[in-house]
């Protein structure tokens, strides 16, 4: 496959602080490339350098093998950007917003009107085309913002947190649309803090932490690398107990296993070898836990993320949603 974007030793410094530290990666034409990392890892700064919204401190950006580091305007006609906020014009209706976005790329009136109509239909917004943007629901705003990024038919679409803060149905619809767009040939550069979303959509994923890419591989390979890891979740009737005390006791008795209390009715055990479930259940039984279920868990991208970044995903999600 052909490289559409290549970042070579890409670095961004703000004074003494290095936000992005000499990263190297490429995005292949036609793929969905995921870019994941905790808050402040350097995701947005990297994207900003790739789209021309931030200057590159050192390193190079290539689009189709052409060095555009100093001439980002040349690359901007190839890219569509959907920011993490729905940033269209509040006072304009859906149709006019799309037409305006098309005009910024030099699209003639008839062409942009036809394209806007088509996109409104694709995104299920045709009947709301005359409604002002500020009267749209959050999900509709998000869809229209994505449609605006597609007005000029870009070869690569940057999607920054496309489903954050919207309802489940809209989120699902957007994920379906992303898949459809990709099938039609649009390359997607996706950042999200929903790991399961990245797992479902992406071909390859790069994990970034403290400005450095610490892992980059296809989703399948990332999961295989974690396949050796065994994980069991044991659920019991809700019970009050001292978390730290229980963890210490479990470690003393099952030293080879990692134990994690997920909540007041679930404990997770993981290890490199097969886990014998009987002693665990017996132990919990002796401690008067009413065990209800034991599940063998498949390795997920979330485990890979936690292993690679050392960051608990729940904390990251909470932080992001709070933001």
């Amino acid at each position: 496959m052909k490289k559409i974007i290549e970042a070579k030793n890409l670095t961004k410094q703000f004074g003494d602080f290095t936000a992005v530290d000499s990263i190297n990666f490429d995005v292949q034409k036609g793929e969905i490339f995921g870019f994941l990392g905790p808050n402040g890892a350097g995701k947005t700064t990297t994207i900003n350098m790739l789209i021309g919204m931030a200057k590159v401190s050192s390193g190079q950006v290539f689009y189709y093998d052409e060095n555009v580091t100093k001439i980002m305007k040349k690359a901007q006609k190839l890219i569509g950007v959907v920011a993490d906020e729905s940033n269209l014009y509040a006072e304009m209706n859906g149709f006019d917003n799309l037409c305006f976005c098309g005009s910024l790329y030099g699209m003639p009136k008839i062409e942009r009107e036809q394209r806007a109509k088509k996109l409104l239909e694709t995104f299920g917004l045709a009947e709301f085309k005359n409604r002002k943007f500020n009267a749209y629901s959050k999900g509709m705003k998000r869809k229209l913002t994505i449609a605006a990024g597609l007005m000029h038919n870009p070869e690569i679409l940057f999607l920054d947190e496309p489903t954050t803060g919207i309802d489940v149905a809209s989120g699902r619809h957007i994920r379906e649309l992303i898949k459809k767009l990709n099938k039609r040939g649009t390359t997607i550069f996706l950042t999200t803090h929903y790991i399961e979303e990245a797992e479902r959509l992406c071909n390859r994923i790069a994990f970034i932490k403290s400005g450095k890419i610490i892992k980059l591989d296809s989703v399948d390979n990332l999961l295989i690398s974690n396949k050796e890891k065994k994980k069991i979740e044991i659920s019991f009737a809700e019970k009050k107990f001292m978390e730290e005390e229980l963890i210490t006791e479990l470690k003393a008795n099952f030293g080879k296993l990692d134990c994690k209390i997920l909540n007041q009715k679930t404990i997770e055990f993981s290890g490199k070898n097969d886990i014998n479930i009987v002693p665990l259940i017996n132990y919990l039984d002796r401690k008067e836990f009413n065990v209800l279920e034991a599940k063998v868990m498949k390795p997920s991208l979330e485990d890979v993320f936690v292993d690679v970044t050392g960051i608990e995903l729940k904390m990251m999600k909470k932080e992001k949603e709070k933001k």
């Binding site: 890219i79 950007v81 030099g106």
Partner: protein, 244 residues
């Protein structure tokens, strides 16, 4: 031709979204009338239109352009819709030119009210139409660019308005709007000559009674110099501050 599409599109969007809104049109009409009324109350006699005309026209342009540009740019920056413009494959210079064009036209429109009232109601005799037109246009451009320069530094609309007032109010007294520059104490006169509005007001004064400090051509050249300087500085600041 395709290169002009974004320009016209940004300009017509701004006209529709901001400048042609009824409150702004009415502000453009009421503002000069309010100043004329103030002059009338101050003198308690009929207005000496020759005396107040340059000041009212300049005030209408200065306040109209700087206020509107501060709102349109700072508001769009805050809502992040301005990012769309920066991401479009058009040069920053073209983008800025499109953004300021609306404010320049708004400034010219604001000046038309006192000009028409002065000519048709007060029967003001215009001795140099060229000075009047060039004064209005150049003053609109230079005031808009002052507004742009201020807007680039501001993060919030109220911040932009505060910074604007910091420049605007001293200009009322220093640029010969109502008190001729040559009547000012000699020690503060140099300040008048480093402010671009002084040269625009001089053109307007010349257009009605032929009294001026500098020749028309000198005023025009100096104003054009300020326009180039402010445009270059604003572009430099946009590139430095908004594309970090």
């Amino acid at each position: 031709m395709r290169a002009l599409i974004p320009f016209w599109s940004i300009l017509s969007k701004d006209m529709k979204n901001y400048y042609l809104k009824p409150p702004n049109i009415s502000w453009g009409i009421i503002f000069p009338f309010a100043w004329m009324l103030m002059m009338f109350i101050r003198t308690k006699t009929a207005i000496n239109i020759q005396e107040v005309f340059p000041g009212i026209v300049s005030m209408s342009i200065l306040f109209g352009t700087t206020s509107m540009l501060a709102v349109t740019i700072t508001f769009e920056r805050k809502a992040r819709s301005f990012e769309r413009l920066l991401l479009a494959p058009i040069s920053i210079e073209s983008l800025v030119f499109a953004k300021i064009s609306g404010a320049i036209l708004f400034g010219i429109f604001n000046s038309l009210i006192p000009v028409l009232v002065a000519i048709f109601y007060f029967k003001l005799n215009i001795s140099s139409m060229f000075s009047l037109i060039s004064g209005i246009i150049l003053l609109s451009v230079v005031s808009t660019l002052l507004g742009l320069y201020i807007s680039v530094a501001a993060k919030e609309v109220f911040e932009a308005q505060t910074y604007s007032n910091f420049f605007r109010f001293p200009m009322i007294f220093l640029c010969g709007l109502f008190v001729p520059v040559l009547s000012l104490p000699i020690i503060i006169r140099p300040l008048s000559f480093i402010l671009p509005v002084t040269y625009g007001v001089d053109l307007l004064r010349n257009s009605i009674n032929g009294i001026h400090i500098f020749q028309t051509a000198v005023n025009i050249v100096i104003l054009l110099g300020f326009i180039v300087l402010l445009f270059t500085l604003s572009i430099y600041n946009i590139k430095k501050k908004w594309i970090k």
